[in-house]
Amino acid sequence: MSLGGSSTPLGKVRGLGSAHHGGEHWLTERVTSIALLLLGTWLIASLLLLPKLDQRTMIEWLRSPSGAIPMALLVIVGFKHALDGMKVFVDDYVHEPGNNFVVNTVLLFLAVGGGALALFALARIAFGAIA
């Protein structure tokens, strides 16, 4: 929490605003974007470099630490960045507080639920419950 004494413009706004975390939201969106720059490029490069795109190849790839770990990070950071981005969109266009709360809450549930589904599927592949 900054009270405005920090030296950078971002430092001055962190902790301020009506919700007290607008600065953090702004920064998080940018940090996750850099992570996704790496993870998204990793996903496309991996799919290009894999010999085949059949199920067996996918399972072997996602069972290895070099496949499973970046994929887990991609899912977590991807859903977080999507939620942060959609919140900007909603806050720009849905002004009535009740509607804003409802839409943002629905998006939060979708992002957390979707992320949980994807991580569950990945865990099932990575920890070998299927052949």
């Binding site: 998204g40 496309i44 290009l48 795109l53 959609m86 979707g114 599927a121 592949i125």
Partner: protein
């Protein structure tokens, strides 16, 4: 202006369709051969291909215009000429990257 709107549109497409298909794909891999065959059938259907090509373009466009936003966050590239050139380059770059990727994928390499 246009590139800023496209940044939001591609971000929304990636959030819903992109993460939705990523989740479906992981579930298909984890759910046995029938589920994976269903996914492959949908993904290689002409409509599925159009959606996937659209999403890869959205990814590259959002990535490049995202880099543009990060540069502008530092206070740079606000001069009209540079700003416009940068905006156009994001579109040229995303189209070229998408074309290269899909020519490779559909060109028999996979």
């Amino acid at each position: 202006m246009a590139v800023s709107i496209i940044h939001r549109a591609t971000g929304t497409a990636l959030s819903f369709a992109g993460l939705g298909i990523l989740t479906w794909w992981l579930f298909a891999i984890s759910s046995g051969t029938d589920a994976y065959a269903d996914f492959t059938k949908a993904a290689t259907h002409p409509i599925g291909l159009i959606v996937l090509i659209g999403l890869t373009w959205s990814f590259f466009q959002h990535l490049l215009s995202g880099i543009r936003h990060l540069v502008m966050d530092t206070g740079a590239a606000f001069e009209l000429g540079i700003n416009k050139t940068f905006a156009i380059l994001t579109i040229v770059g995303s189209v070229l990257l998408t074309a290269a990727l899909w020519f490779y994928l559909l060109g028999g390499a996979k």
